[in-house]
Amino acid sequence: MSAEFAVEVFQNEYLPEGAREVDAIVTVSASGVSSAPVSSADIAQVIIVDCSGSMRYPPAKLNAAKHATVTAIDALRDGVSFAVIEGTDTVRMVYPREQGLAVASTRTKLEAKRLVRGLTADGGTAMGRWLALADRVLARHRGGLKHAILLTDGQNQHETPAQLSRTLASISGHFTCDCRGVGTDWQVEELRKVAEAMLGTVDIVADPQGLADDFRAMTATAMGKAVGGVSLRLWTPEGAVVKFVKQVSPTVLDLTDRRTESGPRTGDYPTGAWGGESRDYHVCVQVKAAGVGDRMLAGRVSVLTAGGDVLGQGKVLAVWTDDSALSTRINREVAHYTGQAELAEVIQDGLEARKSGDVETATAKLGRAVALAASSGNTDTAKLLAKVVDVVDPVTGTVKLRPGVEDADEMTLDTRSTVTKRVGKP
């Protein structure tokens, strides 16, 4: 264990009489990672390269994918376990040749890079099979940090969505997987589904030239993790209903349905691997109503290792009052992240409406998104929105849909819609 965890809770615990919903932002911060880096033997990384026929065109795409994979291999620390998998409508080990992991060294890296350079593109796309093989390969790894990178350029055509969902359900929690879509022929929603199930990131690499840097960065992040299999444990009082548990920073990720019961009134939510980083969670609990003046523990949030050790704890409170000056006070953190979650939702809904030709809904939703991005200072998202709509007034969210929007711009906005801005410190 080479990280220290701190848990902070931000909320307005005062509720008016009769109110039952308690909202809180729980900030979990891991520190002390760099002073004690995790041993290389603990880490395993698998790179899955899409080698379907479409990767041939433009030719730069497959070359860029190979180059990026080579770069990622170079970025591996010696002693780390790794493998490269080729994905088509079927799946094949590239390196090592037999199902398993190799230990990174000058020799194994050279061998792996030689085989990667020889990859050719042919066939279809069946991501579930790719991930299932990655899961079997990583299952042999004894260490706690298991990471995969999945690169694709197309849609999952040789599997039904149900097949992919079944695979994801069976491997979710075994390792984290960052997904990258190259070009504009892949589906954002599909890759987001994979990334969310595997607690990884998803992003677009519209220009294949950008892949190598991205792969290097992802590998460096994976090498910087200190502890894997961390979960949030939420205790709630008798009669309470957990309305939702969402990661809200750095990205929006709904964990509500990922709950595993772990005791009376207690459930665990997976958060994957942690390096030196800080994440925010929005917890909403509906409790039994109580009388004015009553104080209640509405939730207790604990951070746990895979082994069940408690690394940190925070309390979510409820205090009923008839003092409306207290109960109407808006908590900055809760308000900010409620807005950021809505921002992600209206972008996705707006783009969906735009695709289906519903101009009115698209204009309303994307207008709301512009207003939310502006008021919360999320300038990155505001810039992406401005490529899809003409902004007349960012304050009221008055916009016009742009004709002839580049696919890449639309997909970038969609992919990054879940990236939130951290709440500003007062």
Partner: protein, 326 residues
């Protein structure tokens, strides 16, 4: 055979001092620092699983801890100090003592909310005053003089908590005390904590309030500037004109002596009670008759909590009457 409250050694029924530790067995008092108000062993929901912060592991309800609810009982006297429903902490304190065959003494202090650490101030004040009053009972010295000395001692104790660089928020509190001896009841006060005489039913001496608030509003009523009704609604009604603490200077209490001819109770309370039950008629309507002091205190505190519990509530009930003083 009973045991010494100090060292638990066995003592005889007629012993005045403990043979083991020398404690005066005729004197009993609330512990310095306040009665232990630790959480009940069981939550109202039935669970016995309470976490370190006093929350029930089953229903999540917070259990009273520390100063949130203090209860204490001695022969013929009982007190309750409750955080109430709105305040984050209990800044009221109470202390009392019973000296066999001599009488009882009791003090209630209400920490001033606009000062810092006023809970510490009120606790230091009641403990200091109680020591003086109980000594006076033991020695049989003059209760009126003892009351003046007790206030001086309480004022010093609260004043010692002040930080030199923060004089304007120096920990401060109100004060009201009562000493019951064979010759009557002596009441002293500074501020707006009150004492009432509540007579037994059918008694010739009627129930009445024994104290006059040291507030600006009360002063204005006395000077004829405001009527009683206007004062109740005036924002200055709770602004104290006198208090104990580092910024109070020399304070001498108002002192009154009552010599009841019949039975009744003396009630000491903070404004957390009298805000809801200001008149003796209000108190008479709520308090049970023929009940033990603790039961009376519980009913009065419950009435204030039920009415909203906006402030800390402290109530001390002292029995007075022929044959009830032992």
């Amino acid at each position: 055979m009973t045991n010494c409250p100090e060292c638990d050694a066995p003592v005889g029924a007629k012993d005045r001092f403990c043979e083991e530790c020398g404690r005066n067995l005729l004197v009993r008092a609330t512990p310095v620092g306040g009665p232990d108000g630790s959480a009940a062993a069981q939550c109202a929901c039935g669970s016995e699983d309470i976490d370190d912060d006093g929350f029930c592991e089953q229903c999540g309800r917070s259990q009273p801890v520390g100063r949130d609810r203090m209860e204490f009982v001695l022969p013929t006297i009982a007190g309750i100090s409750d955080r109430g429903r709105r305040r984050a902490r209990n800044e009221d304190s109470m202390a009392f003592g019973h000296v066999h065959a001599r009488g009882v003494a009791a003090i209630v202090c209400d920490g001033v909310a606009s000062s810092e650490r006023s809970d510490e101030a009120s606790q230091a004040a009641v403990d200091a005053a109680n020591a003086v009053l109980v000594d006076a009972l033991v020695e049989g010295s003059d209760p009126e003089r003892a009351t003046v000395l007790a206030v001086a001692s309480a004022n010093r104790a609260a004043g010692e908590l002040a930080r030199p660089e923060a004089q304007d928020v120096a920990p401060s509190c109100t004060y009201v005390s009562a000493m019951r001896t064979d010759s009557g009841v002596v009441v002293g006060w500074v501020g707006d904590s009150r004492a009432y005489w509540l007579a037994d039913d059918g008694a010739k001496t009627p129930s009445r309030r024994l104290t006059k608030d040291d507030t600006w509003a009360a002063q204005l009523v006395a000077d004829g500037v405001l009527t009683e009704a206007e004062a109740v609604n005036d924002r200055r009604s709770h602004v104290l004109s006198r208090w104990l603490g580092g910024d109070s200077g020399q304070v001498s209490p108002h002192v009154v002596t009552v010599v009841p001819e019949e039975g009744g109770i003396v009630l000491l309370c903070s404004d957390g009670l009298w805000n809801y039950l200001p008149e003796v008629e209000d108190l008479d309507a709520v308090r049970p008759r023929g009940a033990a002091p603790l039961e009376i205190a519980r009913d009065l505190v419950a009435a204030a909590l039920h009415a909203g519990g906006h402030d800390n509530i402290t109530v001390v009930v002292i029995e007075v009457g022929v044959g009830r003083e032992r």
